[in-house]
C-alpha cells in the first residue's frame, strides 16, 4: 500500500533532463503549462504531446512509473470527463434520454479536457521525477529571491518546504514500521466498517505524531547548535551555474510556446 505512493517522487538518474539547472526546469515547467493552456485545435495538442514524449524519453523514466503516478488522480480525470460529456451545450445531439443529452461537442470537450489534464499532470511530474527535492527548493528559493524585497519570507518558506520534503520518505518509512509492529500485535487495518477502520488507525496515528514531534524537536536543536539563524549571510555548498544546455533548453521552451501560439492564430 505505502509503496504505491509514487506521486511525483524523485526518480534518480543521470540524463540531460536530470542535469538541467533546477531553476531552468521550474521556468520550463511554467512555460509548458502556459503552452498547454494556449494550445487549441488538434495540431497544438499533437505538438505538446510530442514535446512531452520527447522529454520523458530523454529522462528515461519508465512508462510504467508514469502511469502508476497518474493512478491516484484518475478519479479527478474521470470526474472531469463526465462533467464535460453531460454538461456541454452543443448542436449535434448524439444521444438523448430523459434529461440527459450527449452532444458531439460534449465528447470533444471531454476528450480535450482529459488530454490536457493528463498532460498537465505528467508534465509537472517530470519536474519532480527528475529533480531531487533539495535541488527543487534551492531553485525555487533562488527564483523567488527578488520577492524578498517586498519582505516575503522566501528563505523561511523554502526551508520549510525542504524540511517537509526531506521528511516525507522518513515518515512513510516510520508509518510502515509502526504498522508492522501493531499488526504483529494483531491490529487489523484492512477489514471492518468505517468506524472500525477509523478506530484502527489510532494505534498508528498516535505513535506517528509523537515521533514526528520528537523529530521536529531534535532537528530544531541540531540546527540551533550549528548556529542556524535564517538565510541572512548564508552561502551555499552547491552554487547553481547555468550552462549552455540550460540556455538551449530555455530557447527550446520559448520556441514551443511560440509555435503553439502561432498554430492557434492560424486556427489549425
Amino acid at each position: 500500500m505505502l509503496k504505491n505512493i509514487t506521486l511525483g517522487q524523485y526518480f534518480p538518474g543521470d540524463t540531460i533532463v536530470h542535469r538541467l539547472d533546477p531553476r531552468v526546469k521550474l521556468v520550463l515547467t511554467i512555460v509548458y503549462i502556459a503552452a498547454l493552456f494556449s494550445a487549441q485545435g488538434i495540431w497544438g495538442y499533437v505538438l505538446m504531446f510530442a514535446v512531452l514524449v520527447t522529454c520523458f524519453a530523454l529522462s528515461r523514466i519508465p512508462v510504467k512509473t508514469v502511469l502508476r503516478g497518474v493512478r491516484p488522480i484518475l478519479i479527478i480525470i474521470i470526474f472531469t470527463a463526465v462533467l464535460n460529456i453531460f454538461f456541454t451545450d452543443g448542436e449535434t445531439v448524439l444521444f438523448q434520454a430523459w434529461r440527459i443529452t450527449i452532444t458531439q461537442e460534449g465528447l470533444y470537450a471531454a476528450a480535450f479536457m482529459v488530454t490536457r489534464l493528463f498532460m498537465l499532470i505528467t508534465g509537472t511530474f517530470l519536474l519532480t521525477y527528475t529533480t531531487s527535492p533539495i535541488a527543487l527548493t534551492d531553485g525555487l528559493e533562488l527564483l523567488l529571491n527578488p520577492l524578498k524585497k517586498i519582505r516575503l519570507p522566501i528563505h523561511e518558506l523554502a526551508m520549510m518546504m525542504s524540511i517537509a520534503l526531506r521528511f516525507i520518505p522518513t515518515l512513510i518509512e516510520e508509518t510502515g514500521k509502526i504498522m508492522q509492529a501493531q499488526k504483529a500485535r494483531g491490529a487489523d487495518f484492512e477489514s471492518g466498517g468505517l468506524i472500525k477502520r477509523a478506530r484502527a488507525v489510532l494505534p498508528l496515528i498516535i505513535p506517528l505524531f509523537i515521533s514526528a514531534f520528537r523529530r521536529a524537536d531534535e532537528l530544531a536543536i541540531a540546527m540551533e547548535s550549528r548556529c542556524y539563524h535564517g538565510g541572512e549571510g548564508r552561502t551555499r555548498m552547491k552554487v547553481l551555474k547555468t550552462q549552455a544546455r540550460d540556455y538551449m533548453a530555455l530557447f527550446g521552451g520559448a520556441a514551443v510556446l511560440a509555435a503553439v501560439i502561432i498554430l492557434r492564430r492560424l486556427a489549425l
Binding site: G13, I178, Q180, R185, D188, S211
Partner: protein
C-alpha cells in the same frame, strides 16, 4: 518436525525500480520447540527482513514459511501472529494507549479474549517484565527508556506466543537495562518452554544465553551452529564485519602467545575457569 521452518525464502524490496534490493535469498531455516536461537549479522544483512516473514508480516517474493507443518501463507489466518510473537526494534515507539495496562492489553484484546482473561494476561506479562501494579496505571510516556521497552515487550508476551522473536531487544540501553531485558525474556521462555529467537549485532548479548547461533551475511546464512563453533572463528567473523565476544578474543590472543587454552571459550566465566585451571 521442526516448529518453524523456511524453505528457499527470498525477499526483494521494490522490485522493478532503481531501488530494487534483494534483502534475503534462498534461506533454509528450522527452529524446534523450546530452542533458544541467536541471529547475528551486520546492519543490513537481512535479519529484520527475515524475521518479519516468520509471522507472516512480509510476504515472501518466493519460498515458503511453515509453522507447525503448515504453510502460513496458504491460509489468510491471523492466528499465526499470536503464535509467533514479534517484538520490533525500539518497540517503545509503538506505545499508544493512555495507560501501560491498556497498551499491554492491546494484543490479547485483538485475540478476542474475554475481559477477565485479558486482565489475567496483562498481569502475567507484567510479572515477567517486572512491572509493578503502580506502573500499569501510569501513562507509558511517563516511563524511563528501559521501562518503556519492558512495557512494550510485555505487550507481545501477553499474547503468550509459542515462539518469541525479538529484534535487537537491548539496543540503546545501558548495561543494567540490557541485562534486565534479557533476564525478563529468559524468564518467559523458561516458564512456558517457548522457542526464543533473538536478533542482535552484539555478540555479548547472546554469548551467555543461546544454544545455537545463526549468522547472516548479505542476505544469506553464512554460519549455523553451536556458539562455541561460531565464536571460535574470530577471523571469519571480523571479515563479515562482526567481532567475536570479548572472552573469545582474549582467549584467542592468549593462545597465540602459547598459553594452552581450548578454542571453545566465549564467555567470561568460561575464560576465568580455564585460566584458574591453568594456575593450579
Amino acid at each position: 518436525m521442526p516448529l518453524l521452518q523456511t524453505e528457499k525464502l527470498t525477499h526483494t524490496y521494490s522490485p522493478g525500480t532503481p531501488f530494487e534490493r534483494v534483502a534475503i535469498a534462498d534461506i533454509d531455516f528450522t527452529a524446534d520447540k523450546g530452542e533458544c536461537l541467536g541471529i547475528i549479522g551486520h546492519t543490513g544483512s537481512g535479519k529484520s527482513t527475515f524475521i518479519q516473514h516468520l509471522n507472516g508480516l512480509l510476504k515472501p517474493t518466493s519460498g515458503h514459511v511453515y509453522y507447525d507443518g503448515k504453510d502460513i501463507h496458504q491460509t489468510k489466518d491471523l492466528k499465526v501472529r499470536f503464535k509467533v510473537g514479534l517484538v520490533f526494534q525500539y518497540p517503545e515507539y509503538q506505545l499508544f494507549e493512555s495507560t501501560v495496562f491498556d497498551d499491554i492489553a492491546f494484543g490479547p484484546k485483538n485475540m478476542g479474549l474475554s475481559e477477565s482473561e485479558v486482565k489475567e494476561r496483562v498481569h502475567e506479562a507484567a510479572g515477567f517484565s517486572r512491572l509493578s501494579e503502580e506502573f500499569l496505571q501510569k501513562s507509558p510516556f511517563e516511563l524511563s527508556g528501559g521501562q518503556k521497552r519492558r512495557a512494550a515487550i510485555a505487550g507481545v508476551i501477553a499474547m503468550m506466543p509459542e515462539v518469541l522473536i525479538l529484534d535487537e531487544p537491548a539496543a540503546g540501553l545501558d548495561p543494567g537495562g540490557r541485562a534486565e531485558i534479557i533476564e525478563n525474556i529468559l524468564a518467559y521462555k523458561e516458564a512456558v518452554n517457548a522457542t526464543l529467537i533473538m536478533v542482535t549485532h552484539s555478540m555479548e548479548d547472546i554469548a551467555n544465553t543461546v544454544d545455537r547461533v545463526i549468522l547472516f551475511d548479505d542476505g544469506v546464512i553464512a554460519m549455523d551452529g553451536a556458539p562455541k563453533d561460531v565464536f571460535s572463528q574470530g577471523e571469519r567473523l571480523t571479515a563479515m564485519g562482526l567481532a567475536a565476544p570479548k572472552a573469545a578474543m582474549v582467549a584467542g590472543r592468549l593462545r597465540a602467545l602459547g598459553i594452552p587454552l581450548g578454542n571453545d571459550i566465549y564467555t567470561m566465566p568460561q575464560l576465568r575457569a580455564a585460566l584458574n585451571a591453568l594456575k593450579n
